[in-house]
Symmetry: C2
Subunit: 161 residues, 2 copies
Amino acid sequence: MMLKGPVEWALHCCAILSGLQQGRYLATKDLAEFHGIPKEYLSKALQNLSKASILETSLGPRGGYRLAKLPDKITFLDIVEAVEGRHSTFVCTEIRKNNPCRETNIPDTGPCAVARVMWEADEAWRAHLKSVLLSDLLEAVKNEVSEELLLKSRAWISERP
Amino acid sequence: MMLKGPVEWALHCCAILSGLQQGRYLATKDLAEFHGIPKEYLSKALQNLSKASILETSLGPRGGYRLAKLPDKITFLDIVEAVEGRHSTFVCTEIRKNNPCRETNIPDTGPCAVARVMWEADEAWRAHLKSVLLSDLLEAVKNEVSEELLLKSRAWISERP
DNA sequence: ATATTAAGGATATACATTATCCTTAATTGT
DNA sequence: ACAATTAAGGATAATGTATATCCTTAATAT
């Protein structure tokens, strides 16, 4: 499973869920409405976050999702990998094996040099995402969003049944 | 244009072209045969490398491709971006604007915090690819490929008309 | 009981990647 | 001049993946 748009949604949803009052859950319907995104498809992303123990759920009326951990225990990488999977951007198809000069019985000697470099780059990408916490995002949002919008949004969420 | 498999081919092709004798070109047909990949599609990748001034070409018999620069002047990023384009892996759809509490007339205040973090990760990815030169790859290949295979491959290429 | 909700399977739609084909113009060697 | 060879690039087909919707099931609060 390899999702693209849903990663953006998941990050924003986790940010919203961070502001939830103790003991409350927020339903997929509300998260979808708040972000203006398709509810059914968003649901798949949230299910992945739940499977990864980033969110926890409750069924029935007043059910929905909430964070399963504190925001300073959740990294961007946790969220991204939960939704996108752990595929690296580079896939090595071992074309070196097609070299017509090559003996067919050469034992495999680890990944080829090209793949190594590409995977190191992937690793650098992951390392950065691992270094940023959900709590860091909240801090940044606080600085770039007006106090008014912040309060209004919180109220909007509180008023959900 | 956004290619995936072709990036791998392009990197391997550049490595092969590095070993080419002075003044010679190698045709798409030969590069495709050596790597066991589709000639017509590989051609698209090579055209991109040519447009990016990484390769230079000659038409007619004994024509084909050769490097346009020395291997220590070509980075992995040069090759990857020439073939894949410069799209970042993360695309921000600005879902913050769908927030029902938001005034429609709020002036745009740069990229949102989520996008910034994701793009920083992309930047780390690019930075690594920029730090590795084609000449570094050649060095690594020399260490992991048997002397015999190296000579045989060079001979195979030399014998192309 | 009833309404509400997440989980998840099945399936349709849209889009991007991969691959092939064919024409054109340039170049080389005869 | 001529024939063979080659990159460039447009058009299009085939495939695969991402996106989106629908529907059923089981759990839960009131």
